[in-house]
Amino acid sequence: MRTALCLSLVVLGTTGGEVTVTHAMKKIGEVRSFAVRSLLSFLRRALREGWFWAGIGLLALSFFSLLALLSWKDVSFVIPATAASYVTGAVGARLLLGERLTPLRWAGILLVTLGVALVSLSG
């Protein structure tokens, strides 16, 4: 039960956090130069963006659930078992971020999910 609860927090926290951070990054705009000054300016703008902090909060929830889970479960189980986040992430990208997912991209995401699940079974 505690494994299922922690795993759900890891998966949903990751998806919610990453979708929220993506929204924040799109609001800030494309990084066009990799010069240190330009990257620092990008990070400063990110740190002032509320959506970024909401995303970091969800990722922190996911991270501490992951730490707890790793204390009684092997990395070889925990990391591959989070494969579900590929599907929840794709659904989140489509519904919350309005990204256009072509059939080719969906096929790739499903193959990745299946592959990660197989790696998990072999762990």
Partner: protein
């Protein structure tokens, strides 16, 4: 080079540190948390003690450092690329970790795991054939 092609190459260039730092960070955290030990006492004082043990563990800090570098690379690439592109493409970290454990650490990798890695590689190959940004 067209703008779309340049964007695609820029995305590939940032996927490399994402894959590297994500896999390294998770392995380091796993090593650290195994040293900390299993959560057995769920009382506030028990959890407090575990929290302290976790945050004085060097492997945990190396893992956190690696995951922070992953986060910055991830943030930068998401400023132009689709999340639904970056997320599955970064799963290449499973293939990299398996190859590293086999070739560098000499670990035995089962057939099932190789099949899983092949599926991941095929999936990543399909995803990376789509434009990295659906915004055009």
């Amino acid at each position: 080079m067209t703008s779309a092609t340049s964007l695609q190459w820029k995305t590939y260039a940032l996927l490399a540190p994402i894959v590297l730092f994500a896999s390294t960070g998770n392995v380091l955290l796993g090593k650290g948390m195994k040293q900390v030990g299993e959560v057995q006492d769920w009382s506030p004082s028990g959890l407090g003690g575990l929290f302290v043990k976790t945050f004085i563990n060097g492997w945990v800090w190396l893992g956190i450092g690696s995951l922070l570098l992953f986060l910055v690379s991830f943030m930068v690439v998401l400023s132009w690329a689709d999340y639904s592109f970056v997320m599955p493409a970064s799963a290449a970290s499973y293939a990299v970790a398996t190859l590293m454990s086999h070739w560098l650490l000499g670990e035995l990798v089962t057939t099932l795991r190789w099949v899983g890695v092949a599926f991941i590689c095929l999936g990543v190959a399909l995803v990376t054939r789509t434009p990295s940004s659906s915004r055009g």
